[in-house]
């Protein structure tokens, strides 16, 4: 006789006011498969924990975003923000879809070149570019976004010796009603710094002014902030037209769209409250179309969208190491993936589902990672069914910033697999070995022997 499925015995006291289990009966169906691949199989083949990325979701999200803008504005270009997720397989999906590259360091720049991106389609942002990097980017004809006056002067100096004229924009910061205001990057709009920098560029004659750039912040929950940003950049463009008869090639509105994740401290889930691509596109496109630009001279609109394009495509599969009762009687579960892999757990309430069928009995649980430090908490409280050791959970919306901000702290990093559009899995980054961490170490002669 087939034995019945076992679930740990479990009893919950009904507290006054507590919802009975049926109120949450439908909450979070188990995630047994990702893009048609069984979670159990993935773990068996590639180990646990495991990062999984869905090519299908990346492509469909990109197309949705592109459509939202291209149906409202004549000339749209996305530039993939490498820092969000710079695994080559992921970057190349975006490049195949038509995205340029947006990088903020020499390392990211080299990565984009190695991926085969046309240097003229690389946007070089960030406050920390070196002289050598500026020379290289200038020679290759990349788009250099100037962050501060010192960089502007350095670039004028560089331009004396390079064969090419640097192709530049300035980054502008401004008040868009968003708090906090990111005024540490670029030149301020309201105080006139930005206009001042543009004048210096135009008068120098050494730089080719291509466009204007802003990045107003990240996880921006109101589309109207973008309308304000677009309007302010359009105003600067108009001033350039009037004073110098100079027509800009593009306006780069940066990234910052919210993904469908839920921020800690919000009451309603992000999937309900965060603006859609259509809402952002409507705000930005209308602001530009309604500005002074005549129809024929609308500049190219560049978007450096990061997290909103890739968050939903990422999952972490993690296994239960142990269950505990805390001294308060609260249930706690220890997972094999913690904040070392899931940096974003610091600001998101990531959705977590179980990977196997379960009964309706659930309990509030704290999910901890495997690290021996107190901040290693994946969810402070999540209502989950009873989990057995070696059961799996799936952590959702982990595609952005985790494979770039993860920490090699205490332990090695696991495999990353991509499930392609035909449902085949590919390892796109192998799990680390002792060698991958210690390979660069050099031990002085006298410290090699232990005695």
């Amino acid at each position: 006789m087939e034995k019945k499925h076992y679930e740990r015995p479990h009893i919950i006291k009904l507290e006054a006011g507590m919802p009975g289990k049926s109120g949450i009966r439908t909450e979070q169906a188990p995630t047994t498969h990702i893009d048609g691949m069984a979670v159990k199989e993935l773990v068996k083949t590639y180990g646990s924990p495991l990062f999984v990325l869905s090519e299908q979701t990346i492509r469909s999200t990109y197309r949705k975003a592109f459509k939202a803008f291209s149906t409202r504005y004549p000339n749209v270009q996305f530039a993939w923000s490498y820092k969000t997720n710079y695994l080559s397989a992921v970057c190349n999906i975006f490049h195949q879809e038509g995205a340029w590259a947006e990088v903020v360091s020499g390392f990211e720049y080299d990565k984009a070149i190695a991926n085969g991106v046309d240097p003229g389609k690389i946007i070089f942002n960030g406050p920390g570019k070196s002289r050598e990097e500026l020379i290289m980017a200038t020679e290759k004809g990349s788009l250099i976004h100037i962050d501060h006056l010192d960089e502007l002067y350095l670039l004028i100096e560089v331009a004396e010796k390079t064969s090419q004229k640097p192709r530049v924009s300035i980054r502008v910061n401004m008040d868009t009603g968003i708090y906090p205001m990111w005024d540490r990057f670029g030149f301020n709009y309201e105080s006139g710094q930005a206009w001042d920098a543009l004048n210096k560029i135009m008068h120098s004659g050494k730089l080719e002014l291509m466009g204007l750039h802003t990045h107003i912040g990240t996880f921006i929950m109101t589309a109207t902030a973008y309308a304000i940003a677009a309007t302010k950049l359009a105003d600067l463009a108009r001033s350039l037209q009037q004073k110098f008869n100079h027509h800009l090639k593009y306006i780069d509105i940066g990234g910052g769209f919210a993904s469908k994740n839920t921020l800690k401290g919000s009451y309603l889930p992000g999937s309900d409250t965060n603006p859609s691509f259509d809402e952002y596109a409507e705000a930005i496109s209308s602001a530009l179309i309604n500005s002074h630009f005549s129809p024929g001279e609308l500049p190219l609109l560049i978007l450096e969208t990061g997290r909103a394009l890739v968050d939903e495509a990422g999952y972490i599969i993690s296994s239960v190491i142990a269950n505990k009762r805390l001294s308060s009687g609260r249930r706690a579960t220890i997972l094999d993936a913690g904040v070392n892999l899931l940096f974003t757990a610091f600001w998101y309430q990531h959705q977590v589902t179980v990977a196997q069928g379960v009964s309706q009995h659930r309990e509030d649980t704290t999910l901890y990672g495997p690290l021996c430090m107190n901040i290693d908490c994946v969810r402070e409280s999540v209502n989950l069914p009873m989990l057995n050791i070696n059961d799996q959970v799936v952590i959702h919306h982990t595609g952005a910033y985790n494979v770039t901000q993860w920490m090699q702290f205490i332990t090695l990093r696991p495999n990353v697999v991509l499930i392609d559009e035909n449902g085949n899995a590919h390892v796109i980054r192998e799990s680390e070995t002792l060698e991958s961490v210690t390979g660069g170490e050099k031990t002085p002669e006298h410290l090699i022997k232990l005695r």
Binding site: K4, H5, R8, P9, H10, K13, L14, R325, G329
Partner: protein, 82 residues
């Protein structure tokens, strides 16, 4: 281990303790254990029966049973141990 004798459990897994007025919900394995306790089965017999019926290792069930008993005790559903 003995369950307090007045405690009743319904088919739906709803448990009421008339002595304290507290109500609980119990999942199927938990309900099975409570019914076995009510019928007077011993710790060992419970382990035998449950591991026979459900796909679970003896060791791992025994650990879960310990925890379950601990929670029952915390909720004062067990008679004081002899």
């Amino acid at each position: 281990m003995k369950i307090k004798h007045q405690i009743a459990i319904s088919d739906t897994g709803f448990l009421f303790n008339p002595a304290t007025g507290e109500s609980f919900t119990v999942n199927p394995v938990g309900a099975e254990i409570i019914n076995l306790l009510r019928e007077g089965h011993t710790w060992q017999e419970i382990i035998d029966k449950i591991t026979e019926m459900y796909s679970v290792e003896r060791n791992s069930f025994e650990k879960d049973l310990h925890e379950f008993a601990g929670i029952m005790k915390m909720h004062q559903l067990l008679d004081k141990d002899e």
